[in-house]
Structure formats: C-alpha cells, structure tokens
Amino acid sequence: MRVFVYATPLFPLASLPLARLATTRLHPRHTTWLLSLAAVVLAATSCGALGLVAIAALVRIPTLAHLAHLSHRVIATGDSTSGAIATIAGILFGAALLATATFTIARTRSLAAAFGHARALPGAASLVITQDQAADAYTIPGNPGRIVVSTGMLDALDTPARRALLAHEHAHLHGHHYLYATAARLAAAANPLVRPLAAAVEYALERWADEHAADTVGDRHQVAAAIATAAIAAKHTRARPSPTLALGAVFSRTSTPRLDDAGPVPRRVAALLAPAPRTSLPILAAGLVVIALAGLFALEAANDLQDLLSLAHVAARR
C-alpha cells in the first residue's frame, strides 16, 4: 500500500517537463486537450492520495477505529504511517480542499459577471463594436458569448488583419475555450505543482485560436502581422500604463530581447512565422501514459486502503 499512496503525489512533478514538451511538440489543439486533462487528473489523484494517507492515519487512533467499527488490531498490522507524515498529508489535503472551494466560488462569480456582461451588451450580434480610441479586442464567455472590438483596434488593422482577429476570437467563442482554462486553473488551485500545466493550457488556447485564424485566412504570416500590429497598437493607445509593464521594462533593459524569455505575444508571432505545427505522436502518447499511470496508482492506493478497512471491519464484527 505504501508504494502507491506515496508515489501518487509525486506525479505532478512531471508538470513542468510535460508542459514544455507538449507546448513545443504538439498542435496547440492537442496541447490544450492533453494538458488540461493532465492538470485535472494529476491534481485530483495527488490530492486524493494525501487524503488516503490522512484517513489511514486517522483510523489508527483507537477511539476513531472503535467508532467506525473497525478492528484496531487489524489496522495496526496493516499500516505504519508516521504521525508527522500523516499530519502533513492531512493539512495539505485540507488546504487543497479549501483552495479548491475558494477558487470555485471566485471563478463562478467572475463567469457569472461575464455572462451577465455578454447578455447586457447592446444588439444581438456576436460582435460588439465600441467607440474607443484605445485598441482593444476580447471575447466574453456567455450564452451566447460576445466579441468586443474597439474602433481604435479596427483603425489599427487592415482588412486581412481584421479577418484574422475575428477568426481568432470566433475560435475562442465556438470552442468554449474558457472551460479548458477554468478546469486547468481549478486543478492548479488544488495543487500548485500543476501550475505550469495551467499556464501552458492558457498559452495553448491562444495558439489554437491563432492556428484557427491562420486556417481561415489562409496565410500564417498575415495572422502573425495582425497580432503584432494589434499588440503594438494596444500598447500605444492604452490609457493607463500597467505597473507590471513598467517592471518588465526595468528588468529587460539590461539585455537584448530573446524569444525564450519573451512574453506570449512575440512567441505567438514567432510560432506563426514558423511552419504549421504538427503533433508528435510519441510525445502525445507519453503524456497520456503519465496521466494513465497517475490514475492507476491512485486507484491502487484507494483499493489498498479499502481492502484494509474491509478486513478491519469484518474482524471487528467477529
């Protein structure tokens, strides 16, 4: 029992390499699917295993074992988790539950606000154009969701670029992309070790929409130019400079910019200037194997505990 229950919480350590490999070696659509699934499974199994450790330790307390009609003698022979480890596991499990609940409430509230916002926007068309000098464009999730583009953004783009922008936003809208991001962020709230997966999912969603736009427009370079133009226009027409940007400027001044530590926009543009992405089947398979193994380990750990508890239950009846 020890092996499975202690190995399961280690799987999220694979998050960072998995995120890196999937981001570079898969089509963004597959990256999104694989990594959001991985985030949910790895977070659920690791937190579940912590809970198993805590339960296994709790039933070792004679009073509790008696209350649960379990034979303390059988339990004592079955498992020997140290009190310290069990306490830590219990605290982590409790923290994960609390973080998950907090995130769920906050995100539900945000999404409800977004849905209300999408409903309240004027007109019935999916596209809403706002009179605003600041170049801005975004998709609001809703039922139906809406696309908001400012006149400042339209002014900054030529016709093919506008087509690219709208194709990108429609991909978000019709693909219900916010669901993937929410699932991945929920997992990251439960177990912070899977945060790299959630960040990679969010980036992959943008790339997925970019690739969709490239397919629609039929010209990858056109889409790359549209993104670059829009980003530069947004930066120069923004009313209030964001503090994080000022920090970024301070830190970046020391060296010539490199793509490796650049923000998402230059990386998206570079990806579009490169040939269309293809999914590497071995990488995809490896990712699925990691997910399956984590699930299998967690199942075995749960089975082991259940066997022990059933045995202790039967023994207590005799």
Binding site: R107, Q131, A134, D136, I140, S242, L245, P257
Partner: protein, 143 residues
C-alpha cells in the same frame, strides 16, 4: 429595490422626464465608472442646486427605464445596482463598459484578449520579427 410609490412630480410633462434622462446619462458618462442611484442623485444635485427636491425613487425610476431601453448596463452590488452607460449609439469607451467587469472579476481570468500586455522588450522583439519577415529572413531572434 425600494417600492416605487408614484410621486406627484411624475405627472410633470414627458419632456421634463426626457431631460432628466439625458442629465442622468450625462452624469454617468462624466463619471467614467459605474454609479449607484444614490451617487447619481448626489451628482445631479451638485450640478444644479435648483432641483434639490429630486426624489431618490425618481432617479431609480429613470435608471431602471434607461436600463430597460438597453442604454445602461447594470450590475448588482450589495442591495443596490450600479449603472454604466452602454456603448454603441452613445459611443462609450470600451474600458468604461468593462469597468464593471473589472470591478467584480479578474478580467484576465475570464476574458480572452486578442493580445496581452506588451513589455518594451516584447515590442522590440516584435518589430524585429516583422522586420525580418519583410526583409526575407525567417528567424532573426532565435538564440
């Protein structure tokens, strides 16, 4: 919401109510942020001390009517609503429209922006990438 008892003043000609509507809209526009009915009333009174007898329920009625006309966007905050003008015809700034959402939600968490914020280094890199594209090379910034 407060019960809408019908004040005698409401029997005033429609034109007056129309003027009040515009005044309410103007106040919301100038504010540049969502306002509650109380805020709107205060600002109206501050603008022209003459209408000191402007009832709270009248303001609520006007705001509700404007909301029903889709001229205002509203958001519940506590027991009251906050109102902001809707864009389109009126030509309201998008970021004012999103101010409500910004206030209640993590904008980046639920809205998918076409482009994220750009650092100065990012901009430099973008210009290099695009410049290289037009000059024929494909990967200038790698490494």
């Amino acid at each position: 919401m407060a019960a809408l008892r019908k004040p005698q003043r409401n029997k005033a000609p429609r034109r007056a109510s129309g003027a009040l509507e515009s005044a309410v809209l103007a106040v919301l526009w100038e504010a540049g942020q969502p306002l509650s009915a109380t805020d709107v009333r205060e600002r109206l009174l501050a603008h022209d001390g003459g209408s000191a007898d402007l009832a709270y329920t009248t303001v609520v009625t006007i705001l509700t009517r404007l909301h029903e006309k889709n001229a205002l966007y509203r958001q519940r905050e506590g027991r009251a609503y906050r109102y902001a003008p809707v864009a389109d015809e009126a030509g309201l700034a998008a970021r004012r429209l999103s101010a409500l959402l910004d206030a209640t939600a993590d904008r980046n968490a639920v809205l998918s922006s076409f482009v994220n914020d750009l650092s100065d280094a990012d901009e430099q890199l973008l210009r290099a990438l695009l410049g290289a594209r037009t000059h024929g090379t494909s990967h200038p910034a790698r490494g």
